[in-house]
């Protein structure tokens, strides 16, 4: 009897207490039990109310006269309690509202899905004729209104849903069945009823097949095909490379580290496509028809690092490929003008194959990249950081199953929540002007330092490469050891890789100094700085290669020389990654464990590692023209890297403590791969093809002004040899070579992009309006419930005088809520507005 009055008002807590008792979750029993619970609760409330009133009445007879005092004792609305003042009837109505039965009540789910199915059916353009029986109509009409679950029994609803499902196409029907949030037992009942009425998909074959003579064979074929299909499906799933390894990584380190390995896998796939195309159309052909071979230099082992010596005259490099035309009926004159008019077989022109293979492999890569960029953009669009609600509900990475990582994840979430709280608090009180200025100066200084270091690095690389070139020439003049000559070639890649490895640490120091407020900005700033450095160095190197001012100026075949240079960069990059793994992860862990005796382990730096991958991939793309087998080298490198990184990760690292949004990060990585890396490489290669003269004595394009000329020549040859396809040459000459067409195309493209941006903007505005409408409807709902309640109370007042007192008690609170809590709400209720009205007007 000494129950505090407030407890009776906490309806949710009460339900929870009862909810632990047997079978609240039982779908079928729940709805009734829920009703019962509410009845009990409401009777409790009423009892409590009476009790309270009696007690209060005893304590202070004047209590009823002081409305303010009562208002204080009532809990504030909008704090999570269910509207405490509502009577049992209101509560009952509230409980049976559709939004409260979603996912909970079996009948409600079935009706909801029935409606959905009906909508789907109405939308489908071709309604099946046999389903248009009139019997379905009345029940359907009943359906749209049906929100009160007591009106139709469960059986009826189920029957109706089955009827609706039957009218769908089999594939839609099975998809519907799959995605219904019903229990499996319920789904199986539905499926049985479905197959009882129609025999969906496979059942149907069972029924009619044996009746016809050739039925059995048909059934066998169908069953066999189905078995084969399922086996293929399961094979496909197991054939996904590293399926288990990726699961393991995800289970221990969560999705952010997994993102690195998935990126690596994507790169491997891209390289595989390029490699496959080049292998099939160029390398194999050249290997089958080898040119007159130069006597190969002996293999020493250093070639694996330098790519020179033994490898120089091999399939690896551009210089080895010849300009032969296979299957050529005519003599190998450069213009092919002596050919007979009717060519029986299409000649296989190796230079053209070379050009087109590289073009096609770039095109395929471009399409794949654009596809994955767009897909990941679609996934991550509209995501926002710093949202507490999202952090709370979506922070848990369900993939993690290892105890240690789970603990780490808990700690991470905890610190992130604390940080967010602090951030939200600090947002209210801003920094003083002096602090702000100081911070700005520090950031500016840090950027100046970073950019200065980048330009310093670029200059250093420039002078150093010139110096190395001089040294090399001196060595050649002196005729020193071949070993020494080749070892000197390795110095420049070594220096560049060293800079790439060391500078990020300097930037980390800078970041520590400037103390960015949000960790996300910190990550972005670090990425931008590293990227600038790598891009600048690569631009310098590309300039040197193409202008032939420093490197490759004396070689007879400069393409091979550039290819060798790129090979060395790729290999050196790999070696430095290995060293980084060894020192940054293994040795550092040993130091931490043995010396400092901490349980901490080094973190896996996702951003830096991904940038290294992007850098390596850029080198491969740059070199694909000069060394067609470079993708194979890159594939080998990536394969080794996967296993080494995985082992090191499992042994040495712990999951990162920075907040990484996996999808956002992977979007950024793939964008970086697409924008500076791929586009840069494509621009470099296009420039090479269009306006750089290939070497005169080697390679498939010897004797031509530019590589592009070979394509032009081919079109001319085609025109002469086959007059039927003059349209093609016309098309080529008038459209492809015409700049005005390109101009119009880009104008059209820009227009399309502009329209799309406008459409997106419009949609965003509509979304805003709809959200506003939802908020308004919520307020309307509250208003209506209050009205309902007051009507109910008034009726009660007429019936019993005792309840009158309670209504008197409640009134002031209503007023208080309306006027006190939010003054605007009362105004809004007076003039209910709908945002769509604004739209219309």
């Amino acid at each position: 009897m000494s129950q505090p009055p407030s407890i009776t008002l906490h309806v949710p807590e009460g339900t929870e207490g009862d909810g632990q008792e047997p079978s609240p979750d039982n779908e079928r029993a729940l709805h009734t039990s829920f009703h019962q619970l509410i009845l009990e609760q409401s009777s409790l409330i009423e009892a409590g109310l009476e009790l309270e009133l009696q007690e209060r009445g005893r304590e202070s007879p004047a209590y009823l006269a002081i409305p303010d005092a009562s208002a204080v004792t009532w809990p504030e609305p909008g704090q999570g309690e269910e509207h405490p003042s509502y009577s049992s009837a209101s509560l009952q109505i509230l409980a049976s509202m559709p939004s409260r039965t979603i996912g909970r009540n079996l009948g409600a789910i079935i009706s909801q899905y029935c409606n959905r199915t009906a909508r789907l059916r109405r939308r489908s353009s071709r309604p099946p004729l046999q389903q248009l029986c009139r019997a379905a109509r009345p029940s359907l009409r009943q359906y749209d209104l049906e929100t009160d679950p007591t009106r139709a029994t469960l059986e009826e609803k189920r029957r109706l849903l089955v009827k609706e499902l039957l009218s769908l196409s089999p594939s839609q029907c099975s998809h519907m069945l799959l995605t219904m949030p019903l229990s499996l037992a319920e789904k199986r009942i539905l499926r049985r009823q479905l197959s009882g009425q129609r025999g969906p998909l496979r059942q149907r074959t069972h029924h009619w097949a044996p009746s016809s003579p050739c039925g059995w064979s048909k059934v066998c074929v169908v069953l066999g095909c189905r078995g084969l299909w399922y086996r293929l499906l399961s094979l496909l799933r197991t054939a996904q490379p590293w399926h288990y390894a990726l699961k393991q990584i995800g289970g221990r380190f969560g999705s952010s580290v997994l993102c690195y390995f998935l990126f690596l896998k994507t790169l491997l796939m891209l390289n595989f496509f390029s490699f496959f195309i080049l292998l099939a159309f160029v390398v194999v052909m050249q290997a089958v028809y080898p040119p007159a071979s130069v006597s190969p230099q002996p293999f020493t082992g250093l070639e694996l690092l330098t790519g020179a010596g033994y490898f120089t005259h091999s399939l690896l490099y551009y210089g080895y490929y010849s300009n032969v035309t296979l299957n050529d009926p005519c003599t190998s004159s450069p213009k092919g003008s002596v050919c007979p008019l009717a060519v029986p077989l299409l000649p296989y022109n190796l230079p053209l194959a070379y050009l087109f293979s590289i073009g096609v492999s770039f095109l395929v890569t471009c399409i794949l990249l654009v596809y994955s960029v767009s897909r990941s953009f679609r996934e991550s669009v509209g995501s926002s950081t710093g949202d507490l609600a999202i952090k709370v509900f979506c922070a848990w990475d369900f993939k993690v199953i290892q105890r240690r990582s789970v603990k780490l994840q808990c700690e991470n979430i905890c610190t992130q929540l604390k940080e967010l709280l602090v951030e939200q608090r600090s947002r209210s009180h801003t920094q003083s002007r002096c602090q702000c200025l100081g911070h700005c100066i520090v950031v500016l200084l840090a950027w100046v330092l970073a950019l200065a270091s980048v330009s310093g690095c670029v200059l250093a690389v420039h002078y150093f490469s010139e110096h190395m070139h001089m040294v090399q020439q001196e060595q050649q003049a002196q005729g020193s050891d071949r070993w020494q000559q080749e070892a000197i070639l390795l110095v420049l890649p070594l220096v560049v890789s060293l800079l790439n490895a060391l500078m990020p640490h300097l930037y980390n120091l800078l970041a520590m100094w400037e103390k960015q407020d949000s960790p996300v900005t910190q990550v972005y700033v670090a990425i931008i700085r590293n990227l600038t450095l790598k891009t600048m160095v690569l631009i310098l190197l590309c300039y040197q290669w193409l202008s032939r001012s420093v490197t490759c100026s004396t070689e007879e075949c400069w393409e091979t020389c550039v290819g060798q240079d790129l090979y060395r960069f790729v290999v050196m990059d790999f070696i430095f990654t290995l060293l980084d793994t060894l020192f940054g992860e293994l040795i550092w862990r040993l130091i931490l464990e043995k010396r400092l005796k901490t349980k901490q382990r080094p973190e896996f730096d996702i951003a830096r590692n991904v940038l290294e991958l992007i850098y390596g991939q850029t080198l491969t793309w740059l070199g694909i023209l000069f060394a067609p087998l470079l993708p194979a080298v890159q594939m080998l490198k990536l394969l080794l890297l996967f296993y080494i990184k995985k082992t090191s990760l499992m042994r040495n690292c712990q999951s990162p403590s920075k907040p990484w949004q996996a999808s956002r990060m992977s979007t950024m990585f793939i964008t970086l791969l697409c924008f500076p890396s791929f586009l840069g490489a494509a621009a470099f290669l296009s420039y090479t093809i269009w306006s750089v003269q290939p070497s005169e004595t080697c390679g498939p394009f010897r004797g031509l002004e530019t590589i592009y000329k070979s394509g032009k020549n081919w079109v001319l040859v085609l025109e002469k040899s086959n007059p039927n396809i003059t349209w093609f040459t016309w098309f080529y000459q008038h459209l492809l070579e015409n700049t005005s067409l390109l101009f119009f195309m880009s104008v059209a493209l820009i227009a399309v992009i502009y329209f799309n941006i406008q459409v997106v903007r419009g949609r965003q505005r509509v979304i805003c309006l709809l959200q506003e409408q939802i908020a308004n409807e919520g307020e309307d709902k509250v208003f209506l419930i209050q009205k309902l309640h007051s009507v109910y109370k008034q009726r009660q007042m007429f019936l019993s005088p005792r309840d009158a007192r309670s209504s008197v008690l409640l009134r002031p609170r209503d007023k208080e809520e309306d006027g006190g809590k939010c003054g605007t709400r009362a105004q809004r209720e007076m003039t209910p507005r709908s945002p769509l009205c604004h739209l219309g007007s």
Partner: protein, 194 residues
């Protein structure tokens, strides 16, 4: 299918295949996992749909769930009787919804159930407090928790009733692309045991 003894009839396997995101083989493997947990209770022969249920204590000790802070709620949400014991049907259902193939909307519905601790069809403050305590292993102070709860409800509650209904929840998670994208691993039916 290659077993000495038939566990399911073809018809049953077809039904499972139609109603879940699993293939035949995976269903058989799931049965293997289910059987492993209590070999003397679960029969090998499931052709007659025997009414066998395993208690929650056994299920939450599976390596896939063991370390999950919401393991009890996950199991409870999928159990037909609400006490947390799972029949084989419920078991398959659970892994089907939590597998990578399940669509987002389906996952959202069950995630809502999981976070709704007191099964009142709303995520109210008490639910949020419990979620937070589980997420952070009760590292936050009471004051911080109330603050976070208030902020969360303020952010996500669109209709202004002071708690999160399913519509609010759905709207909120639509902004989080990572939500359950990487869901529980489907190692259950992988060949290699953990």
């Amino acid at each position: 299918m290659g077993n000495k003894q038939t566990i399911f009839t073809d018809e049953q396997l077809d039904a499972y295949q139609d109603c879940t995101f699993f293939t035949r083989k995976e269903i058989l493997r799931l049965h293997g996992r289910y059987y492993e947990m209590a070999p003397n209770v679960v029969p090998m022969d499931y052709t007659k749909d025997p009414d066998v249920k395993l208690p929650m204590q056994l299920i939450i000790n599976m390596p896939e769930l063991k370390e999950n802070p919401f393991k009890e709620r996950i199991v409870e949400s999928f159990s037909e009787d609400g006490e947390g014991s799972l029949s084989f049907n419920d078991f398959v259902d659970m892994f089907s919804v939590l597998s990578e193939m399940a669509p987002r909307e389906l996952k959202a519905i069950y995630a809502f159930k999981i976070y709704d601790f007191n099964t009142d069809n709303f995520i109210c403050k008490a639910d949020l407090e419990k979620t937070l305590n589980k997420l952070t292993r009760e590292e936050l102070t009471a004051e911080e928790i109330t603050l976070v709860c208030e902020k969360v409800i303020e952010e996500a509650d669109m209709d202004g009733d002071g708690k999160l209904g399913f519509a609010d929840f759905e709207n909120m998670i639509s902004k989080a692309p990572d939500f359950l994208r990487y869901s529980l691993t489907n190692q259950v039916y992988q060949q290699k045991p953990l």
